[in-house]
């Protein structure tokens, strides 16, 4: 066979591969991510740094989808869970029952949708931007029909109830939430209502943005006759005095739901009027939540995420620091900390859209000025102190851009209490070879390989446990390697594991090409040690060897490499 023929056949195969069906996977993947994240996160608060206005219409679908899948695992997965937990399977549920329930749910959805669109003052054509799509409901129904044998009437009812709850939340208007919160108890902790308000404000903003295209003609007419300032004023008064009935309706509902209008790039566009929303929540809304909304009114990025003023970004960081001290509500406090962390990183290392360095790889003048401004004007703040350290380093380097690998936040403001970057300078580095076991560890290995008793390993840390894992693999001592795994979580039976290992011919040592040293790896949220970060010559190869603290010792997570 010649090269030409082979290439021709490869080309034909490529075409066949490229015609693979492209089925929709997004919702299942997002549901799996949500499930995975649920295990890790305790703080569910929606965290959106202060660039709210860059969130375009596309955001809506995502936010609502995440709401939708929040507690709604596809029924197929639930079936598997039930089977795993040994719960009863089929109880004679009929296809017609499921179809009838979903039909009713669809009618409910359609009614809600119509009503909400009307109340938002939006015309036709916004369905797909506003709410969870009907396709999602159909998908859930199809899943349930596929798993009919494993679904009981009670489970069907539970599913429908959950979906109904999700639809209700998705169609809750910001105006209604504002009203409810303003009538609440100021001492009540921030909860789902406030979280939902944040979500809904962002969601419907996209729909309003989109709707402006349809009102362009009316807006042009109005601005030609009265000028932009007058039209804006009328829009922000809820449409009173505007000639167009459509515009009046749009403005009235937008203002009622927490939006206002302003001129951006020669266009009249809606935005979330955080200040006014905050005002409307007084006097009974949670004070910390109100404070947070006021902070959110600081717009520092444009619609595309480009920083408009680094000085304003610096000022916002100082405000966040100062305001955070008086915040009692833990959820709001954490949200502000998260925001401050993201924004500080944006301030000192930039982003793909916001490079802090010019074409000559020198720090941009406006960024340097903003740093000096914060350092000079707010010298007592932690933000300024951390920034000064960063500035001095940059100065030493002649304000030249560091190599990509060195572009990281060396030191966060102290009040953020972020140990990792501070620890970067002091963090313990395990520079010894993974395979070179100290005498004590080697002796422990010998004992453990015979007795498989974790008491023998109790005094060793994550790095040593990782060494043992590699060592066992190098000796093809798969029984010991297996014994190092955590007793919790999924893993195959020992005999099958050993057989598979023997047959695989795959050596862990191959993973160590370019390995340089290890450090402890902490979870972002809890800061507990969850692994050993393995650093490689090429940082792209860095990976984490996952461990878990169990029975006062360290064990290896099954499939530890991530």
């Amino acid at each position: 066979m010649d090269d030409q023929l082979l290439e021709k056949r490869l080309d034909s195969l490529k075409k066949a591969y490229n015609e693979m069906p492209e089925e929709e996977n997004r919702s299942a993947i997002l549901a799996a991510i949500k499930k995975d994240q649920k295990k890790k996160r305790t703080n569910k608060w929606l965290h959106l740094p202060y660039a709210a206005s860059f969130i375009g219409v596309g955001m809506i679908a995502g936010v609502l989808m995440m709401q939708y899948i929040g507690d709604h695992i596809p029924s197929g997965e639930k079936t598997e869970q039930r089977q795993a937990s040994g719960e009863n399977a089929g109880t004679g549920l009929k296809k017609a029952d499921v179809k009838a329930e979903f039909e009713e749910l669809r009618s409910y959805y359609t009614e809600k949708q119509k009503d909400t669109k009307e109340k938002l003052g939006l015309g036709a054509g916004f369905e797909k931007w506003l709410f969870l799509s009907m396709e999602e409901l159909k998908g859930t129904e199809a899943n349930m029909l596929d798993n009919l044998d494993n679904t009981s009437q009670v489970e069907l009812e539970l599913e429908i109830k959950q979906l109904k709850g999700t639809i209700d939340e998705s169609f809750t208007l910001p105006g209604k939430l504002i009203e409810e919160i303003s009538k609440g108890d100021p001492d009540e902790k921030v909860g789902r209502r406030e979280e939902l308000l944040s979500l809904q404000l962002e969601s419907y903003l996209g729909a309003y943005m989109q709707s402006m295209v349809f009102h362009e003609w009316d807006l042009n007419q109005a601005t030609e006759q009265e000028g932009v300032t007058a039209v804006l004023e009328k829009l922000n008064r809820g449409g009173k005095g505007l000639a167009s009935a459509n515009l009046r309706k749009l403005a009235a509902s937008a203002v009622e739901n927490g939006y206002a209008f302003r001129e951006e790039d020669g266009r009249i566009l809606p935005y979330i009027d955080f200040i006014r929303v905050a005002e409307r929540l007084k006097p009974n809304g949670n004070k910390d939540f109100i404070k947070y909304l006021v902070l959110r009114s600081n717009k520092i990025q444009d619609r595309n995420g480009v920083v408009m003023s680094y000085q304003k970004l610096g000022e916002l960081l100082v405000k966040l620091e100062r305001e955070s001290f008086g915040v009692k509500d833990s959820m709001i406090h954490q949200t502000m900390m998260n925001d401050a962390q993201s924004l500080y990183a944006l301030f000192v290392i930039g982003s793909p859209l916001n490079s802090l360095f010019d074409e000559n790889n020198l720090l941009k003048g406006e960024v340097k000025k903003a740093y000096q401004y914060v350092i000079d004007l707010y010298p007592d703040t932690d933000t300024a102190k951390a920034l000064e350290t960063h500035y001095v380093q940059l100065e030493k380097a002649g304000f030249k851009k560091p190599a990509d690998g060195d572009l990281h936040v060396e030191l966060y403001p102290e009040y953020l209490q972020i140990p990792a970057p501070q620890g970067r300078q002091q963090e313990e580095k395990f520079i010894q070879s993974i395979y070179l076991l100290p005498e004590e560890l080697l002796a422990a290995y010998k004992g453990f390989s015979v007795e498989k008793d974790f008491d023998i390993l109790r005094d060793f840390g994550p790095f040593e446990i990782m060494q043992l894992y590699f060592y066992a693999d190098s000796l093809e001592d798969y029984g010991t390697k297996y014994a190092l795994y955590s007793k919790n979580g999924e893993k195959p039976p020992e005999d099958r594991y050993i057989k598979e290992q023997q047959e695989s011919g795959h050596k862990l040592g191959e993973l160590l090409r370019g390995y340089e040293y290890g450090t402890l790896y902490q979870a972002n949220d809890t800061e507990e040690i969850v692994g050993v970060q393995m650093h490689f010559k090429n940082p792209e190869n860095n990976m984490v060897f996952q461990v878990i603290e169990e029975d006062e010792g360290w064990k290896v997570r099954y499939m530890p490499f991530q």
Partner: protein, 185 residues
Amino acid sequence: MNDEELVFRARNGNMQAFAELIDIHTPTVKRFAFQLGNKYDDIDDITQEVFVRVYRFLEQFSHAKFTTWLYKITLNVTRDFARNKQRQIKKVLKIGKERTYNGKTAEENILRYEEDRALHECIQKLDEKYRIPIILFYFHDKSYDEIAEITGISLANVKTRLLRGKEHLKKLLVLADRKEGERHG
């Protein structure tokens, strides 16, 4: 919006940006996973796991090309998947579903021509060190540099493996064609 921008937004909590990354890259991940020799019935599970890991480690991702990282994760997931007990269970559950309504396997439906199927199978028979560069070069239009980055081998090795891989593939194809010829008399 490019990948880097979407990643940046996703890291800052924008789920829609991440959903866009999923939409953009799912076909590539699926194709790559299938080309690596995974059963078509397992592709959705693998794709799901790839994106779960991407999201889980989004914080750690920096300054690399997103697709390079994605290919690496797909490779790792595929390797892990082969050892995963859960997959074994699912596989048993799915046996009944393997054949579609027209009596063909999912693989037969994708690779409708015998010649394509034969080549697909021959590629699976190649050693991984040849298979991956060939798949990346011929089906994903990756350059030598990109293949070197994804696989972690040197540029020279990429070239050698591609050449040798092609030679092995030709031999395997001749054998397969001969067998097919014998089968049809």
